[in-house]
């Protein structure tokens, strides 16, 4: 087939043969390659379109750009100003079916030297279109520019304040915006010309997406880095047992780290331990409850989200936060009522407290704000003073072992409260754990994802239990010092009022959480 061979063969000859010089256009000298990089914001769409013409198409264009064959900057700029609007007419984006009209921003056309010193052209157009992406939307895009030309065609999409749900295209360009074309034996040449994706407000959390921009302090930033590392491990191809173990270890570490960040009921737990008699077992109990609740919460929420892409995860998290606040406020209220009603003696069991363990369905907990962090610090000071006073009380109640039902009341009271506190602290899933699960599910590695979430929970449990145990230890020591009678009267006075302060603080924190959730919607 002479004709076929000549055609095919010459086509082949136009390709860089392996032994030829470096710097040749790797995809073949007659390709026209496209990159469409999207950034979706709540009020519009930014499109950075790059067109990379290889040597021959450039040679075919040159007469129009500069008839004398030597284009200067003015020629190129003029040409760019003509080509970008033409490109804008060829790319069609609709938001919920309504087409978006483009405004052409900056344009640039530059000459990049190619094979044999021949010029290639690189056109860059920044287009912007107005669109309302503040709610859930459906985006559809088609690139009809230069359809008849062979070449690499890629689309990438990211969001700033907009989250892409199950985006079929990556966030980062695989070719570094047409500068380096990867040669992969097991992938066909990139030819993506259309994009359809749903969006909703939020942070884009696709693989490779920028981490949440809100974290300021270095600790949270480090955790964000580890979050991404874990995400990469999940998504990587080589999931050998070693990598899996590494990922599990990383998940445990992340659980520890995230537990240290404000937001998992440590504050409230600490307050509660301070306001009641705390024992090592209680610390373990709270830690375990937080973890169990958190793990289950992540699994349930993660499943719900992966089932229905219309499931508004942000809304759920918000209401979880509110409910958590309510629970904390209730507990704080109960503590306050106890303190006020009975002076320094704990009240008999109330139905509310008895039923606290069964409040398993209650969801609670929010990520902390700066305000909470401040509260946390204040509590630390309060603890030292609370301990000696409460320890005395604890002794009063703990020692007489043979008081039947009466005894179970303080136990129940404490236990129920602790469990409730633990639930309150643990039931708003940490976004990073949620992300881990969703990413794993999306990649078909659900079991692995579940294991990671459990590992995450173990890490949290370890931290919270450790914190609780440390508090208990501190309090024991202080109590001993108090009983040894070496403390000042100021300290003793403060210790006496500590339960009241603690109860008030817990109540205030709970109310603040509720207010935050309702008013700010965060």
């Amino acid at each position: 087939m002479r004709r076929a061979l000549v055609v095919g063969g010459a086509a082949a000859a136009l390709v860089l043969l392996p032994a030829a010089s470096a710097g040749a256009h790797p995809l073949g000298n007659f390709t026209v390659n496209h990159s469409d990089a999207f950034l979706f914001t709540p009020d519009g769409v930014h499109l950075r379109a790059v067109v990379d013409r290889a040597e021959i198409p450039t040679a075919q264009e040159m007469p129009d750009i500069a008839p004398d064959g030597d284009p200067g900057p003015a020629d190129l700029a003029r040409r760019a100003a003509v080509e970008c609007p033409a490109l804008a007419r060829d790319v069609v984006l609709t938001v919920d079916g309504d087409p978006v009209s483009w405004t052409v921003g900056t344009t640039a056309l530059e000459i990049v030297p190619g094979t044999a010193g021949l010029p290639t052209l690189r056109l860059t157009c920044d287009l912007r279109g107005d669109a309302d992406l503040s709610g859930s939307s459906r985006i559809a895009f088609r690139d009809d520019h230069e359809l008849g030309r062979i070449g690499w065609r890629e689309i990438t999409a990211d969001g700033d304040g907009v989250r892409l749900l199950h985006s079929p295209v990556p966030v980062r360009s695989p070719s570094d915006e047409l500068r380096r074309y990867p040669v992969e034996l097991l992938k066909s040449p990139m030819d993506v010309r259309t994009l359809e994706v749903s969006t909703e407000p939020g942070q884009n959390t696709g693989p490779g997406a920028a981490p949440a921009r809100s974290s300021g302090d270095p600790f949270a930033a480090t955790l964000a880095v580890f979050d991404r590392r874990l995400g990469d491990l999940i998504g990587g191809n080589g999931l050998t047992p070693l990598v899996g173990l590494l990922a599990l270890g990383l998940a445990i570490l992340l659980g520890c780290g995230h537990a240290l960040l404000p937001g998992h009921g440590k504050t409230v737990m600490a307050a509660y331990l301070a306001g009641r008699r705390g024992r090592p077992r209680d610390a373990v109990l709270v830690g375990a409850t937080v973890t169990l609740t958190h793990t289950v919460g992540v699994l349930v929420l993660g499943l719900a989200i992966s089932l229905s892409s219309a499931f508004a995860g942000e809304q759920v998290l918000r209401w979880l936060g509110v409910t958590s606040g309510v629970l904390v406020a209730v507990i704080g209220g109960v503590m306050l009522r106890d303190v006020l009603r009975d002076g320094r003696r704990p009240a008999p069991l109330t139905p509310v407290e008895r039923s606290l363990p069964v409040l398993a369905g209650a969801v609670a907990g929010t990520p902390a704000t700066g305000a909470r962090a401040h509260v946390h610090h204040d509590h630390d000071h309060g603890h030292a003073h609370d301990h000696d006073h409460d320890h005395g009380h604890a002794h009063d109640h703990a020692h007489p072992h043979d008081h039947g039902d009466e005894h179970t009341h303080p136990h129940t009271h404490g236990r129920g409260g602790l469990v409730g506190m633990g639930i309150a602290g643990g039931l708003v899933p940490s976004p990073s754990a949620l992300l881990v699960l969703l990413a794993s599910v999306a990649l078909g590695r659900t079991v692995f994802g579940v294991l990671l979430v459990i590992a995450y929970g173990l890490g949290m449990a370890a931290t919270l239990t450790a914190v609780g145990l440390a508090l208990v230890r501190v309090r024991d020591r202080l109590d001993r010092r108090l009983r040894a009678g070496r403390t000042s009267s100021v300290l003793r006075a403060v210790a006496r009022t500590a339960p009241l302060i603690t109860a008030v603080l817990v109540l205030v924190v709970g109310l603040a959480l509720v207010a935050r959730g309702v008013v700010l919607g965060v």
Partner: protein, 441 residues
């Protein structure tokens, strides 16, 4: 204790629920997933809309990700990439083909006729016909029943000018695997030898068994080409239109339409079609053909533009270490420097003696004024029986230059009888020359 009873009740409830959950889990995992989208879309459109080659490539890529030692699939993937490169024109497939085939050989260096055959197909695609023949020989030594290896051998031998060997290879291929690949090669073999009816019927037989749109487009392209090369413009147009119905925008079919339009004098359509062709597939021969068409309608400036792009292409060839002496010889003889044409033609002839090389050398010698030396080559180029009108025109011109008017008139008349539209630029030249000699005999 009430609380203990509560506790036990709670736990029992929990266990029951867990058992239920386990039942649900078992129930849902026992069935296969019933796919939503495909089912919801109804019975008709299934996942089978991708053509078998693309689907097969995707399957092979997945397979090799799972079992990287599968040298058989590496070789088949490489061969599929070569095929895909031919169909789409996307040259990035060639590097992938080379990598895949080399990987196959690395895993299994011995007894790997599949990889050798694939490399042979790749060599043919890159114009290394001697290399392709060597690879096909090695493959056939390992597996004499490989229809694909015989196909590679046929292509290589045809290009090298071993026409008898090529016919033999085609016969082996037909005996092993009758189908589109062997029927189309049989058609070309028949066409070269002037057996027009078999050439057409073989392509029609191929078209009848063609399964994919790429295969149908291929058959349509060359059925149209056959018709055009016999001067049957209507039938050619009909075939090209059929092909474009299944493969819209395919450059070779558009080229066919361009030729038909040029032959009919439909300048606007021809220009648009040629533009599309050189935009999608700016190969030297297309650029030259477009340029010659532009010259024929008096647009010399635009023709020069096309030839300038051709210059760019030549520079790229040089930079990439690819030689295209045949193309250079043909172009320079008609539009450039006859000395350069002769050098290139002699270089090509040193490599192979097929009819293209013979014709190029004869014509270059003619342009250099050495007609006596030119004639044997021109005669060789037209000796098989199915000579193209252009080659006949070349021979006629050389005969005329040598003063052999009777032979020249017969040859030129034959050329124009075969295809009066063989070139927008040179068909009229041939007509002029024939008239000046006294018209057809």
């Amino acid at each position: 204790m009430t609380s203990r009873r509560t506790a036990v009740n709670l736990m029992a409830g929990g266990v029951l629920l867990l058992l239920l959950a386990g039942v649900f889990a078992g129930w849902t995992t026992s069935g296969r997933p019933s796919v939503d989208a495909a089912g919801a879309a109804g019975d008709a459109a299934g996942p089978g809309t991708a053509d078998p080659l693309t689907a097969g490539i995707a399957v092979a890529q997945q397979r090799l990700a799972d079992v990287p030692g599968d040298w058989r699939t590496w070789a088949e993937l490489g061969a599929s990439y070569v095929e895909q490169a031919r169909i789409t024109g996307d040259p990035s497939y060639y590097a992938k083909a080379q990598g895949s085939l080399e990987r196959s050989l690395a895993v299994r260096p011995d007894d790997n006729d599949l990889a050798l055959t694939g490399l042979g197909a790749l060599a043919n695609a890159r114009h290394d016909f001697a290399g392709a023949q060597r690879l096909a020989t090695r493959a056939l030594a390992l597996n004499a029943y490989s229809a694909a290896a015989w196909g590679v051998m046929d292509d290589a031998r045809t290009q090298l000018g071993d026409y008898r060997g090529a016919s033999d290879a085609v016969r082996h291929m037909l005996a092993l695997k009758p189908g589109v690949a062997s029927f189309t090669r049989a058609s070309y073999d028949a066409e070269l030898h002037g057996n027009w009816s078999l050439a057409t019927s073989a392509l029609e037989q191929a078209l009848a068994v063609a399964g994919t749109s790429a295969e149908k487009a291929y058959c349509a392209t060359y059925l149209g080409g056959l018709a055009w090369s016999r001067g049957n413009l209507d039938e050619a147009e009909h075939r090209f239109d059929d092909g474009l119905a299944v493969a819209p925008g395919s450059p070779l079919l558009v080229l066919g339409q361009a030729r038909v339009a040029a032959a009919r004098g439909e300048v606007v359509q021809a220009t648009r079609a040629y533009d599309q062709v050189v935009g999608a597939l700016p190969l030297p021969e297309h650029l030259v053909e477009y340029g010659e068409f532009l010259l024929s309608i008096g647009r010399a400036d635009q023709a020069r533009e096309q030839f300038a792009v051709l210059g760019t292409v030549r520079k790229l060839f040089a930079a990439n270490g690819v030689s295209d002496d045949l193309g250079v010889a043909q172009f320079e003889a008609d539009h450039g420097d006859p000395a350069a044409a002769l050098t290139a033609a002699e270089a090509e002839f040193a490599r192979r003696h097929n009819i293209d090389a013979q014709d190029a050398l004869g014509w270059a010698l003619h342009k250099a004024g050495r007609d006596a030396e030119a004639l044997p080559h021109a005669a060789a180029a037209t000796s098989l029986g199915g000579a193209s009108a252009r080659f006949l025109y070349h021979r006629g011109a050389i005969e005329a230059a040598l003063g052999r008017d009777d032979e020249a008139r017969a040859t030129l008349a034959e050329a124009l009888h075969r295809n009066p539209y063989f070139s927008p630029l040179f068909a009229s030249e041939a007509r002029r020359l024939l008239t000046s000699l006294g018209g057809p005999p």
